[in-house]
C-alpha cells in the first residue's frame, strides 16, 4: 500500500491495512537496530522537533533515538523552556517551529486532542506522543508489534488491559487498534476507573480479574497514575492490589504462554509483583526495544510524505 498521511495523530483514524503497513515497515527498522552500524540515511537533512509540554523520559528518548538513527537533526523543547510559559498559544508555538522549517513535530501534551488540533493547521508533520487521556498511538503500535512478534498474529487473540483505563491514553490506542485487527479485548479494573461506557467501544468490561486471567493470551497492565487522580476514584493502593494486582499467585492462573506487558513506568508491588515483572512471560523490555523500531517506521513514513 501507499502511505499518504503526513501525521500520526491517533490509531482511531487508521485502517487495519495502515496499521499493518506500519508494523511491516517496523520489521525492516528492527533489523537495523541489530547491526554494528545502527544508522540509516532515511531522514538525512530533515529536522525533527520534540515538543514535550508534559514531562516524559522514555517516550522522548525513544523518539530522539529513532530520529537520530534515521539521520535526522533533533531539537528537544520542554514546556518549561518554551514560550508557552509566557502565554503563547500552542498554535503560535507550533507555527514558529514550522517557520524554522522543521519537518516533523513530535508532540506530547496534557490536553486530549492537542495533536488533532495542530495537524490540519500546519504543513509540518505532527506525530502524537500522547495527548491527555486520549491516545498514545506509537505506544499502541509498539504493543501490537510485540504481540504480533511473539504470537505471530493479532486476529483472534484475547487481550486483557488491566488498571486505570479511564485516564489511560495507552488503553484507548490499544482498544482502537486491537479491535480493528480482530482481537477480543477485555478491560479489567475498579468500576470507577473502568466505566461501563467503554463497552460502546466494542470491548468487554470486567471487575473480577480472576475470571479473566485464565482465558487471555496477553495481559497489558497499566500503571495506576497517582498524578492524574482524585482520591475519590478508589480507596487506596492496598485495596487496589487486593482486587486487581497481578500477584505471583494470580499469575499462576495465566496460560503458560500468556504474554505480560506493561507500558512503563512500573510500580513494582502495585499493579504487578516484582517477580512477575521479571519472569519468563514478561515482554516489558521487548516492548521498549520494539518501540524504537516502530517510531523509526512512523517518522520515516510521515516524514517521507510530500507536502
Amino acid at each position: 500500500m501507499n502511505w499518504t498521511r503526513k501525521d500520526l495523530v491517533g490509531l482511531h483514524e487508521l485502517s487495519a491495512d495502515e496499521i499493518n503497513f506500519v508494523l511491516q515497515t517496523a520489521d525492516a527498522f528492527k533489523e537495523v537496530g541489530t547491526r554494528e552500524i545502527k544508522k540509516v540515511p532515511a531522514l538525512r537533512g530533515k529536522t525533527l522537533v520534540n515538543l514535550f509540554i508534559e514531562p516524559s523520559t522514555r517516550t522522548r528518548i525513544s523518539f530522539e533515538l529513532a530520529a537520530l538513527r534515521l539521520s535526522a537533526d533533533v531539537v528537544n523543547v520542554t514546556a518549561a523552556a518554551s514560550s508557552l510559559t509566557k502565554g503563547e498559544t500552542l498554535l503560535d508555538t507550533a507555527r514558529n517551529i514550522e517557520a524554522l522549517h522543521a519537518d516533523i513535530l513530535v508532540l506530547r501534551h496534557n490536553s486530549a486532542g492537542a495533536a488533532h488540533f495542530l495537524a490540519p493547521r500546519l504543513r509540518t508533520s505532527i506525530v502524537n506522543a500522547g495527548d491527555g487521556a486520549h491516545e498514545h498511538p506509537t505506544q499502541g503500535l509498539l504493543d501490537l508489534y510485540t504481540i504480533r512478534e511473539k504470537k505471530g498474529r493479532i486476529d483472534g487473540l484475547h487481550v486483557a488491559i488491566i488498571g486505570d483505563i479511564r485516564f489511560s491514553r495507552v488503553a484507548r490506542s490499544n482498544i482502537f487498534a486491537l479491535t480493528k485487527l480482530g482481537a477480543r479485548v477485555t478491560l479489567v479494573g475498579p468500576s470507577t476507573l473502568v466505566p461501563r461506557e467503554f463497552e460502546q467501544l466494542g470491548v468487554t468490561v470486567s471487575h473480577t480479574i480472576d475470571d479473566v486471567l485464565p482465558s487471555v493470551d496477553v495481559v497489558n497492565l497499566l500503571r495506576i497514575q497517582h498524578e492524574r487522580q482524585r482520591k475519590e476514584y478508589f480507596p487506596g493502593l492496598g485495596e487496589y492490589i487486593r482486587l486487581f494486582g497481578l500477584t505471583k499467585r494470580r499469575a499462576e492462573l495465566l496460560k503458560p504462554d500468556c504474554l505480560i506487558m506493561h507500558p512503563g513506568p512500573i510500580n513494582r508491588g502495585v499493579e504487578i509483583d516484582s517477580a512477575v515483572a521479571d519472569g519468563p512471560q514478561s515482554v516489558i523490555l521487548d516492548q521498549v526495544t520494539n518501540g524504537l523500531a516502530v517510531r523509526m517506521a512512523v517518522l520515516y513514513l510521515c516524514g517521507g510524505v510530500p507536502r
Binding site: 490536553s111 492537542a114 491527555g132 467501544l201
Partner: protein, 424 residues
C-alpha cells in the same frame, strides 16, 4: 409618521389573532384601524407579521470583553436575527452586580443599540455564589431578572434566600443548572464520545440535580425560577412533573441542543463546545418532546461570542459557547416546524414573545393597540445558507457554517422604525 404593513399573515398569539391583514403603526406605536393614508407602505405578502421577538439569554460582553462583542454589535446581530428585545447576561467585567453597572449598560444601549436591551443582574456578588448581590437596587435600576449565568450557586440556603428576596422585588430568578461536584472539570457530555476522546465528561445528573433543587425551592418560596439552556431528558421529566403540580418552574431551550448531538465533538471542534454540552440523541428528542407538550416554554440562543483566537486552542482550554442570534430563528423553524412538525408556527412565535414577556413581566410581545411597534417580519419558507463571514456579530464562533436552513426574519422594526432588513 404612519406605516402600513400590508397583506401579511399577522400572528399575534397574545391577542389570539392569526389572519391575513394590514398592521398600522402611528408614531412608533401599534394603532387601530386600517383606513388612513400611510407615509410608508411595507408589502408583507407571503410574510408573517409577528410581535418583535424576544431573546432572554444573550451575552453582549460589554463592559469588559469588547473584543468578543459590544452592545452595539450584539444588538445589530439581534436585529439581523429578528429580535427586537434581548436580555443580556451579567457575567461581564465588572460583573453586573451593582446599580451603576446596570445603569451603564442601559445608558450605553440607549446610545448605540438598535434593539431594546434589557439587562439582567447577578444573584450573588461577583457571581461568586457566596453573598447576595443588591437585588432590589438592581431591579430598581432596570434589571429585569437576576442570574449568575455561567456560574451556579451551590449553596442551597443562599439560593433559597435569593429566590425569597427576588419574590419580594418581583423579578424572576434565572439559573444556569450545574452541580460543581458532579460536573468537575467536564467539558463534553459524559458518554460514548467523552470515553472515546479521553475528555472529561459532564454528566446529565449534574444538571438534573440542580433542576430538582430549583423545583424544590420554587415550591418552597412560591416564586418563579427559570432553568436556562435545559439540555437533558431527566431535566424535562422533572419539570414536567413539577409543572403539572403548579410549581413556578420554567425552562428554555437553545437551538444547538436540538440541532446537534455530542458526536459533533468527535474532531475536537471547539465550536461544538458549550456549557451545558451537546447531549445524546435521546436527550435531544426529549427536549423536542418537552417543547411540543409545553413543558419547555421559552426559546433562547445563549448567544456567547468568543474571538477566533480564543477558540483556536486545545479543546479543554477553549471557552464554552457559540454565537446564536443570527441562526436561532432559522434553526428553530427548520427543526421544530418544517422537519419534525413538533409545534406550529404560532407556537414558535408565542415561545419567542408571549412566554418570555410573561416570565419577565414585560409590556411587549404583543401587537396590541398602543404598544410600542416592535414587529418582526418572517419569511417562513425562505431557504438560505449560514455564512458566518456575513454575521453582524463581532464573533464567528458557530458550528452551523454552511448549513442550509428554511425560514428566517427578513425585516426587524423597533418602535416603528426599521432597524434591519434582509438585502435581496
Amino acid at each position: 409618521m404612519t406605516t402600513r404593513i400590508r397583506n401579511g399573515r399577522i400572528i399575534d398569539p397574545a391577542n389570539d389573532r392569526d389572519e391575513i391583514g394590514d398592521l398600522l403603526i402611528v408614531d412608533g406605536k401599534i394603532a387601530d384601524g386600517i383606513a388612513r393614508e400611510a407615509d410608508e407602505e411595507i408589502d408583507a405578502s407571503g410574510l408573517i407579521v409577528a410581535p418583535g421577538l424576544i431573546d432572554i439569554h444573550v451575552h453582549l460582553r460589554e463592559p469588559g470583553f469588547g473584543w468578543k462583542e459590544t452592545i452595539e454589535s450584539g444588538a445589530r446581530a439581534a436585529a439581523a436575527g429578528g429580535f427586537t428585545t434581548i436580555v443580556c447576561m451579567p457575567n461581564t467585567s465588572p460583573v453586573a452586580d451593582s446599580p451603576s453597572t446596570i445603569a451603564w449598560i442601559k445608558q450605553r444601549a440607549a446610545q448605540v443599540a438598535s434593539v431594546n436591551v434589557l439587562p439582567s443582574g447577578a444573584i450573588s456578588r461577583n457571581i461568586a455564589g457566596e453573598e447576595l448581590a443588591p437585588i432590589a437596587a438592581l431591579a430598581q435600576s432596570g434589571a429585569v431578572a437576576v442570574t449568575d449565568d455561567g456560574k451556579c450557586i451551590q449553596n442551597h440556603e443562599l439560593m433559597r434566600r435569593a429566590v425569597e428576596y427576588a419574590r419580594m422585588v418581583g423579578i424572576p430568578v434565572l439559573d444556569h443548572c450545574q452541580d460543581y461536584h458532579l460536573v468537575g472539570d467536564g467539558v463534553v457530555n459524559e458518554g460514548r464520545w467523552s470515553t472515546s476522546l479521553g475528555l472529561p465528561g459532564w454528566p446529565c445528573a449534574g444538571e438534573e440535580m440542580i433542576v430538582m433543587r430549583n423545583i424544590l425551592l420554587a415550591e418552597l418560596c412560591d416564586h418563579d425560577i427559570h432553568c436556562q439552556h435545559v439540555s437533558c431528558a431527566g431535566s424535562v421529566r422533572l419539570m414536567r412533573e413539577a409543572r403539572a403540580r403548579g410549581v413556578k418552574i420554567t425552562g428554555e431551550v437553545c437551538p444547538h441542543h436540538i440541532a446537534l448531538t455530542d458526536d459533533a465533538v468527535r474532531n475536537f471542534d471547539t465550536n461544538a463546545k458549550m456549557n451545558p454540552p451537546l447531549r445524546s440523541q435521546q436527550d435531544r428528542d426529549a427536549l423536542i418532546e418537552g417543547i411540543a407538550d409545553g413543558t419547555l416554554t421559552i426559546l433562547a440562543s445563549d448567544h456567547a461570542p468568543h474571538a477566533t483566537f480564543e477558540k483556536e486552542v486545545e479543546f479543554d482550554r477553549a471557552p464554552f459557547g457559540i454565537v446564536g442570534l443570527e441562526t436561532e430563528l432559522g434553526l428553530f423553524l427548520d427543526l421544530l416546524v418544517h422537519k419534525p412538525r413538533a409545534i406550529d408556527l404560532p407556537r414558535v412565535i408565542e415561545m419567542f414573545t408571549v412566554e418570555p414577556a410573561k416570565l419577565l413581566k414585560l409590556n411587549s410581545g404583543a401587537l396590541s393597540a398602543g404598544a410600542p411597534a416592535d414587529v418582526t417580519l418572517i419569511d417562513p419558507d425562505l431557504e438560505w445558507t449560514v455564512q458566518p463571514e456575513r454575521f453582524h456579530s463581532a464573533s464567528r464562533n458557530t458550528p452551523f457554517s454552511g448549513w442550509q436552513l428554511k425560514g428566517r426574519a427578513v425585516r426587524t422594526i423597533v418602535s416603528g422604525r426599521t432597524v434591519w432588513q434582509l438585502e435581496r
